[in-house]
């Protein structure tokens, strides 16, 4: 049982949870994730760690409330308890030797990209942080993002805030204007990561993406999180979740993520009807 000590709504569908998890907080590194179950009957879901405080023994996740399980999590009040949390799982994002990096986040993925940007900045790297949202109302943690980077670029689909356009437009502009990145780190929807990779491939810039496939145990047992990377089968929970984006078969990953779409819809309906 892990007590939620802070719960904050960041936008209509995104909520921040900080909960007690001293052992996980002690080990967590940017890029790693936890598996949690809100209640004793819930599904196990992977959530990337957005922040951690080793002294306070707390871990923060920022969650888009999209399905039944995230809705169950969102139903737990501040001061309430999450049934199970295991972690930190997966390999940390590699940051060694990076001097100039573009960190690209999309939607709730910005929250996952944030600790990576923060770590790189703390290590003395120059970080351009490009964040994309659909519109102004969905933008969150702007101050934190700014503090974690040298240059924050906010993009919105409709131009209601920051610049109008996609994150790939901003990235392209920065590259064209002469930014020489050692690496691009992209975290967000699969389709966004796919197009970031297509762009950086043209410029020959190494690109790392954080994959978030369907998982059950998250410890290297079930094999549900398998992906094709460089033509080989990889398991996101132990081999990842970060992979060389130019080698990831995004189309397969997108297809596999839709495996339970219908079930999810029914489950969400069931949940709404019983409330």
């Amino acid at each position: 049982m892990n007590k939620i000590i802070l719960k904050r709504s960041l936008n209509p569908t995104v909520t921040l949870f900080t909960f007690e998890a001293p052992l996980i907080a002690k080990k967590a590194e940017p890029g790693q994730f936890v598996i949690l179950r809100p209640n004793s009957e819930s599904e196990r879901i992977p959530l990337t760690i957005s922040d951690f405080d080793r002294e306070a023994g707390t871990v923060t996740v920022i969650v888009q409330i999209v399905g039944a399980t995230t809705a169950e999590l969102n139903a737990i009040p501040e001061g309430g308890f999450i049934c199970d949390v295991a972690g930190p799982l997966g390999r940390p994002t590699e940051t060694e030797g990076l001097k100039k990096v573009a960190v690209v986040g999309g939607g709730v993925g910005c929250a996952i990209a944030y600790p990576v940007a923060k770590k790189l900045t703390n290590l003395g790297a120059s970080v351009d942080f490009i964040v994309g949202f659909r519109n102004r109302d969905l933008v969150f943690l702007e101050d934190e993002f700014r503090a974690a980077s040298d240059n924050l670029v906010i993009m919105t689909d409709d131009g209601s805030y920051g610049e109008k356009g996609l994150v790939t437009d901003a990235l392209k502009k920065l590259i064209e204007s002469g930014a020489e990145y050692d690496e691009v780190i992209a975290i967000g929807p699969l389709v966004m990561m796919k197009f970031v990779c297509k762009l950086t491939e043209q410029y020959g810039i190494k690109t790392v993406v954080s994959m978030n496939p369907i998982m059950i145990d998250g410890t290297g047992m079930c094999g549900g999180c398998r992906l094709t990377v460089g033509g080989k089968m990889k398991f996101a929970c132990v081999d990842g979740p970060d992979f060389n984006g130019h080698e990831v078969d995004f189309d397969e990953a997108m297809r596999r993520n839709t495996m339970y779409k219908e079930f999810e819809r029914e489950k969400a309906c069931r949940l709404l009807n019983t409330k």
Partner: protein, 462 residues
């Protein structure tokens, strides 16, 4: 006078056409009369070949003698001296290749139903009100056990009984390991497993769930925390795939994933929060117990056609004979001497079938089994909507990659000596983490051996 019937008392079971639609236990267990009758078949022979066939050396003729005399609790005590999970082993051990294989009665007729008697004795004991078990006096030594599957549970019980302060670390949210996530309810009811785990707690063993050793804590940190010995029973690891085209399609599962969804996450229940595909036509690739479990689960989820695809012949099937028999009775179709070459898809997204090739058996290979060889030009296709790969696992990399100086085989299994000790002093290992996918009882045997060695080492006897 011994009962000289050549046949075992048959096991009362749910009818095949009934049970293949529910997840309740298939075998119902002997009645007292049947148990008395079956126990009377044991000749109580002098050289006890059955005991030699048991990986944990249960004093089989002794417990059967007490059973025959109606002293069921005494029989339970005798089994408990050697086995910490009798209700489990009576159900899942491959008796036909162990104790019962060597039974003298098996020379002419069927061997004594040792497994069935073990189950009867254990179930009867478990149905009695639990006496207030008190934890034995602590001896002041701390031992950590990694994993709460059969090897870890056995190791923990044996050490706790000797007074060790034992903490079991489990990565999942429920203790039991493969007994909980792998073996289905209809073969091993989860109540039985939780009873065994409760018994462990009554002995004073602490169980820490949601702790992933190698991630949340490392083996070296456990040593720093004052654990004098560590037993690694982390179990099987990542599922193997065939590396044939189409394994990334929607509708392809590893058996581990399919079974975990059903058993650990209860996806077979209508109100389950965890989804699982309910397919019409399913093929399970592989011939072991896990393959049988997956096939029988698929059937129970409503599949009309379920195939077992196995590249060797019936004789080489590694599954327990009873599981094969049950699977057949339940309508599972065996496509033996058959090997998949490609998983097919009409829409490029979901499984629509499997292409296979027929096999013949050649000369014996390194495993001693006859090597399957492809029959040229024998390709054929089976229309399907789900494929489950049950072709074994490779050891989990998490502990190996985070423990300095822990020697592993080229395949990734942890190397141990004859006492179960690894290349790291005071660090022991056993079960699937060492051997690769094997049986519950072999894992228990390894846990038992390591517990004995840990005790001797700490007491300065080794």
């Amino acid at each position: 006078m011994p009962n000289m019937s050549l046949k075992k008392n048959p096991m009362p079971s749910q009818e095949p056409e009934v049970r293949n639609k529910n997840f309740k236990e298939v075998a119902l267990g002997y009645t007292e009369e049947q148990a008395l009758d079956e126990a009377a078949r044991c000749l109580n022979c002098k050289n006890r070949p059955c005991t030699q066939g048991c990986p944990v050396a249960i004093r089989i003729p002794d417990f059967i003698k007490e059973t025959a005399a109606g002293n069921f609790e005494k029989a339970y005590e005798i089994i408990s001296l050697s086995s910490s999970l009798p209700a489990v082993c009576g159900r899942v051990c491959p008796q036909e290749s162990q104790c019962e294989k060597y039974c003298v009665r098996g020379i002419k007729g069927e061997p004594v139903g040792i497994g069935r008697l073990e189950r009867f004795v254990a179930d009867r004991h478990n149905s009695l009100p639990t006496e207030n078990r008190t934890a034995p006096a602590k001896n002041g030594h701390k031992v950590a056990v990694i994993g709460s599957g059969p090897s870890g549970l056995t190791c923990a019980v044996d050490l706790a009984k000797k007074g060790y302060d034992v903490t079991v670390f489990e990565a999942l949210h429920t203790a039991g390991g493969v007994l909980v996530y792998g073996i289905p309810e209809f073969r091993l009811p989860k109540d039985i497993v939780s009873k065994e785990v409760d018994g462990l707690k009554a002995l004073g063993v602490k169980i820490e769930t949601n702790v992933v050793i190698g991630k949340t804590l490392t083996v070296d940190e456990l040593i720093t925390q004052g654990f004098e010995a560590i037993f690694i029973g982390s179990g099987a690891g990542l599922p193997n795939f065939m590396n044939i085209p189409g394994e990334g399609l929607n509708g392809v599962y590893s058996a581990n994933e399919f079974l975990t969804r059903i058993n650990l996450m209860k996806a077979y229940r209508d109100n389950s929060e965890t989804p699982v595909m309910r397919a019409e036509k399913v093929a399970v690739v592989g011939g072991g117990n896990v393959a049988m479990d997956a096939a029988r689960c698929a059937k129970r989820l409503g599949a009309k056609e379920v195939y077992i695809i196995y590249r060797r012949s019936e004789e080489e099937l590694p599954a327990r004979a009873e599981e094969v028999e049950h699977a057949k009775e339940e309508g599972i179709v065996f496509r033996l001497l058959t090997n998949p070459t490609e998983i097919l898809s009409e829409d490029g997204k979901t499984v629509s079938g499997i292409r296979c090739v027929e096999m013949t058996l050649g000369e014996p290979d390194a495993s001693g089994r006859r090597r399957p060889i492809e029959k040229h030009g024998s390709e054929f296709e089976i229309p399907l909507d789900c494929v489950i790969m049950a072709i074994g696992t490779s050891p989990n990399p998490l502990i190996k990659s985070t423990t300095n100086g822990l020697e592993t085989t080229p395949k990734g299994g942890i190397v141990v000596d004859e006492n179960g000790e690894t290349s790291r002093e005071n660090v022991y290992a056993g079960g699937d983490a060492v051997t690769g996918a094997a049986t519950v009882i072999l894992a228990m045997g390894a846990g038992k051996k390591a517990a004995a060695a840990i005790n001797k080492k700490i007491q300065g006897l080794l």
